[in-house]
């Protein structure tokens, strides 16, 4: 008699772990299935962790979790071929009791997260891939089919947390394939440097960390950004662009990363580092409009699998955790009320999401992806203009400042018509409303 569970969670990323943890704590007999050798094995990227999403579930995580550095300085750079203009925001306030953002390495972090999940009493099975969902005659989801012998396992409800591709959801027809222009391909490397070197290069000490986000011609006219995160003894260096753009331009992601690393403003930050771990991973960028149906009879979908990423702010893992948690809370509550896991009942999950920052933010930026996508000047023309402006302004060459200002204004108008400029500002404003 094959074993039966009250809930099955597919995937051991932030979303899956959050869901499983919440279910186990809620007394649900839950099975979590992860494809990798262990949770996190497949997630090698360095990332930024937003504290509150974790804190809600594990208040004491700061003492336990393998965190790299808390972020005290954020740099936003606009790059053109030879220069960068940008803002640095650094504040001593970020050296607070309970910092809000940390750099992490996903593999050790996910491993730790998974260990707390196990401690909470969930049964976690790794190195096992879910191939498909099992449905009963009425079409209701009643379990999963894995790649192992005797691998059909039944449960009252299945939570899909299997990441951006969510092949399971696709195969089960719960979601269609991600559109190339709704998903970014991010390539990332880990550059190892002695701690002293990192601290000196980025002007930080102790647990302090810096994040650099770079847009502009680094992406060769494609829509996307490059980034550098400081870890304890390494830097996470990466760049991401819409898959559709890679396809159109024929630029290879790795070539793009190489060029990014060669940029004069980036190069010396990486100098002498030993590169290890090259990873490519998809990031859903479609935002609100690309989100699939989030629940149905006997199933829920969370995290990247549901396209819940705020691409502008690079928030993904936090939305993944929050959505995972809310899906699980839904199941726990229905179970306590003795209700069956029907679509009707599971709508509660959607209501929870709507009330939370997850949907609010995704809605807020719902137009941004398409706007930026249709208006390449944001990543092509502007960086050059800005950098030229900065240069004209800074250079002391006997020219009076007034003339300089005029020159700058002109260059903007040359680069992009006044109507263009105004229009662009307008578009962005609307998209971010």
């Amino acid at each position: 008699m094959p074993e039966r569970f009250e809930a099955i969670v597919v995937g051991g990323g932030p979303a899956g772990n959050a869901a499983t943890l919440t279910l186990a704590r809620g007394g649900v007999h839950v099975l979590q299935i992860e494809r990798g050798e262990y949770a996190g094995a497949k997630n090698v990227q360095g990332a930024i962790l937003y504290a509150d999403a974790v804190e809600e579930m594990i208040p004491e995580f700061r003492d336990e979790a393998p965190l790299e550095r808390h972020i005290v300085e954020q740099r936003m750079w606009m790059l053109d071929e030879r220069s960068h203009v940008g803002t640095h925001y650094r504040s001593e306030d970020f050296n607070e009791e309970r910092p809000n953002r940390y750099t992490i390495l996903r593999t050790p972090f996910d491993k730790w997260f998974s260990s707390t999940v196990k401690k909470a009493g969930a049964l976690v099975i790794c190195e096992t891939t879910v191939l498909d969902l099992i449905r009963d005659a009425s079409g209701r989801v009643v379990g999963v089919k894995t790649d192992r012998e005797g691998g059909e396992i039944h449960a009252d409800v299945v939570i899909l947390a299997d990441g951006v591709n969510s092949l399971v959801a696709q195969r089960a027809g719960l979601r269609n394939e991600v559109e190339p222009d709704h998903v970014a391909l991010a390539v990332k490397e880990t550059h190892f440097l002695p701690t002293e070197v990192i601290e000196q290069r980025f002007n930080i000490s102790g647990e302090e960390g810096v994040v650099i986000e770079a847009a502009g011609s680094v992406t060769e006219g494609m829509l996307g950004t490059g980034f550098i995160y400081t870890n304890k003894e390494s830097l996470s260096v990466g760049i991401g662009c819409l898959v559709s753009d890679f396809v159109d331009t024929g630029i290879t992601p790795y070539g793009l990363l190489e060029r990014f690393k060669q940029h004069p403003s980036i190069r010396q930050l990486l100098d002498g580092a030993e590169v290890k771990e090259y990873a490519a991973h998809l990031i859903p960028e479609g935002g609100y409009k690309a989100m699939p149906k989030l629940f149905g009879d006997g199933w829920l979908i969370v995290g990247d699998a549901a396209q819940m990423v705020n691409s502008l702010h690079r928030e993904g893992s936090n939305m993944a955790m929050s959505s995972g948690r809310m899906a699980a809370e839904t199941v726990v509550e229905l179970r306590q009320q003795g209700k069956p896991m029907t679509a009707k009942a599971l709508r509660l999950y959607r209501e929870k999401l709507d009330a939370s920052y997850v949907i609010k933010d995704l809605k807020k930026y719902r137009d941004l992806p398409s706007v930026l996508h249709r208006n390449k000047q944001f990543v092509t023309t502007y960086p050059q203009l800005l950098s030229r402006a900065a240069q004209t302004w800074i250079r002391v060459d006997g020219e009076d400042k007034k003339t300089k200002e005029r020159a700058i204004a002109k260059s903007f108008l040359k680069g992009r018509s006044l109507r263009g400029l105004v229009g662009d500002a307008f578009k962005i404003a609307r998209a971010m409303r």
């Binding site: 050790p108 049964l123 012998e149 691998g151 190892f192 002695p194 002498g272």
Partner: protein, 279 residues
Amino acid sequence: MHCVVCIKQVPDSAQIRVHPVTNTIMRQGVPTIINPYDLYALEEALRVRDAFGGTVSVITMGPPMAEAALRKALAFGADRAVLMTDRIFAGSDTLATSYVLSHGIMRLAAEAPVDIVFAGKQTIDGDTAQVGPGIARRLNLNQLTYVEKIDRLDPAADEIVVHRRAEGGVHVLKTELPCLITMLEGSNSIRFASMDDMFRAARAEVTVWSAADAGIEDQTRCGLRGSPTVVRKVFAPKPRQEKAKLIDTAGLGAAEAAPKVIDALLAADSKLADHLAAG
């Protein structure tokens, strides 16, 4: 049949990183795996059990985190797992390791007599291929190393015939149980665990033995103190000074380039020219 398989959890050396400055190992983020050679031993033990019944016990000496390796072995189908862990084991070389393991195996034998002890050919971190023979000596087991296949096994007569890899050929050896076998790589391939095995492994109890539990009286024979060999220094291979002389074949097709390459070779090394001429 009671088979005991010695497995070791090792850092996946394919992913080992050396600190560019201090030349020390950076273990951070390096995944650990079951020593690949031990999987051949485990699979062979499982086949013996499948064919003749009985149980397969896996044993490891290592830190608490080595439990993960044992669970994996359980998932592949092992019946029982023992973790020998104790601070005094730290720093053991092969002599000390075989001393500790042989005590663990004796304790297992006290519960059910052991017929075959399996070990991997070698580990990928220590890779000495000595622990196996060490255990065989200490427990006075007939030693069969580099075994390619078990040709015949007759539990009733306590008899076993194996093919043992030797230089330039294979020895067919006949001996009696109990024996110790180290399996050669490629001699089999580990099975894919069933869903039930995965469940069983995830829930199974892993027995943990300290030195005292394993009945080890003489602690001076464990760990660093019990290890005659001392690691005096660890360092990175020194890079060669001169790099390869590039033979410039720019613009040439392979057909024109090839003679140029040969000329360059022969010009650089007359001995080589003579050798080739000699045919």
